[in-house]
Amino acid sequence: MTIPQPAQLSGQPTARSGRIEIRGLTKQFAGADIYRNFNLELREGEFISIFGPNGCGKSTFINLISGIVPMDAGTVLYDGKTIEKTRLSYVFQNYRDALFPWMRAIGNIQYPLKILGMNKVSRLRRVEELLAEFDIRIDLNRYPYELSGGQQQTVSILRALITDPEVLFLDEPFSALDYEMTLFMRERIQDVFLKRRNTIIFVSHDLEEAVQLANRVLLLTRRPTRIAEFVPVEIPWPRGSKSLSSPEFVAVKSHCLEVFSREVARNSSNRSNVGT
């Protein structure tokens, strides 16, 4: 991993035109195929939502392509670079388990920079810049357990952004928050995307937020997982809570729901066939 220069962080967002190529992705759990020779090509700089039936391996997918879980076979290249050579960040579903409770919020946010070997002064400057950029008003001298759920997940997201990652993985990041906080956090993550144009790969179990935030929604089948459909979402940004009732949004969402229901139905009929 290389240390990004501060200029790159505070200056204009760098144009990203590369491709993310996933070739022959294969993974088994307990003898069952989750992914078998799965191929996908994504454009960098896009916001991709992943949605699919329960247990189809949505989270496994981003765990595999982010290198958190090793794959059995396959290659993933980010703009031609391997996982190890790409700056990736990951936001976990359970912020309580992912933040370091022994560090104050500010320590958590700058920890990735510490790993990269950056000195303390530069680390603090980077945090300052980040806070100013997103207008965050959280008392960062508190410990994570002293913050609300939304604040904790905000700290997680800031921790992921501090390295200015090329790709940001979000694994159901709002599922532990109440609806009001979820709406607020959706706007916040949009704000991140519109300012930074990092590639964001977002796993969700909520179709509404999957459609609201994405350039494209990747709909998956039951396992062994295949692509059911890759649905483009052409709704103008920014997409506030008002756009949730716009006709375009409703159209895209109901189309996705149709595909989703078809996939769920197809497999349950398969299963009942096996049963009889």
């Binding site: 982010s66 370091f100 790993i115 994570p144």
Partner: protein, 291 residues
Amino acid sequence: MVQLSVTRAAKDGEQASETARATSSMPLDLPPDTLPPPRSSQLRRVAQVAIGPVVLLLLWYVAGELGLLNPRLIPPPGATLTETWKALTEGTMFYDLVQTLNRVLVAFAIAAALGVPIGIVIGANERIYRSIEFIIDFFRSTPATAMFPLFMLIFGLGDQGKIALAAFSALLIIVFNVAYGVLNARKTRILAARSMGAGRARIFADVIFLETLPQTFVGLRAGISLALVVIVVAEMFIGGMDGLGHRIADDQMSYNIKDMYGSLLLSGALGYSLNYAFLLIEKYFVHWAGR
């Protein structure tokens, strides 16, 4: 405590008002549930805690007065406590207490210094853990007292033998708890650190060690309690001229019954204080536990 110092400050005037400001601003930095409770409920808590011992002393006294107790076996509380106070301030009881405490602390220090790193290494390698789990469990279940003769043979009758045995017993408990903590550490934080590019050594120092700290403290607390037990018993039976265990055995043989009760009370107070001290240390260092 904060409130007490505020009232005192108010009386002392000028310079004190600064203290008042400093102390009154202090709770703002603390999470709400660590704020000191109102004074009246604090007093009530102290009273509640005191009721048990006071009633016990009262029963002891009344039973003695009524002639229900054989004074040769259970002397009255007043005389016992006076005798103990005298032995502490004028006699050698305080010296015995210090000797025992020293041995416990040395044994515990050895056990902790070896046990925590060993526990981490064992816990981090599941295969090593599985292969020595039985050995640790076996020796942990073996009564420490049964190993007196062996340790006397190896380390002699002096302090070394007592300390070695206490350290060995505490070591097993500490290793077991630390290894268990590492083995069951939540994986998300480790994954998080790994996803940031942290290497193995850094993950150990920055994540696993701290993640395991609550369980480590469970082991340390159990370890120091066991070290005290082993040291006191060793002082009774393995040669030596001092320590609370030696004093209690001596009192029994010379029929110095009041001194024996005093030494017993003191041993209890020592064990209680060690445990309590560890709880305080734990609360300070592992402030996040259970949250």
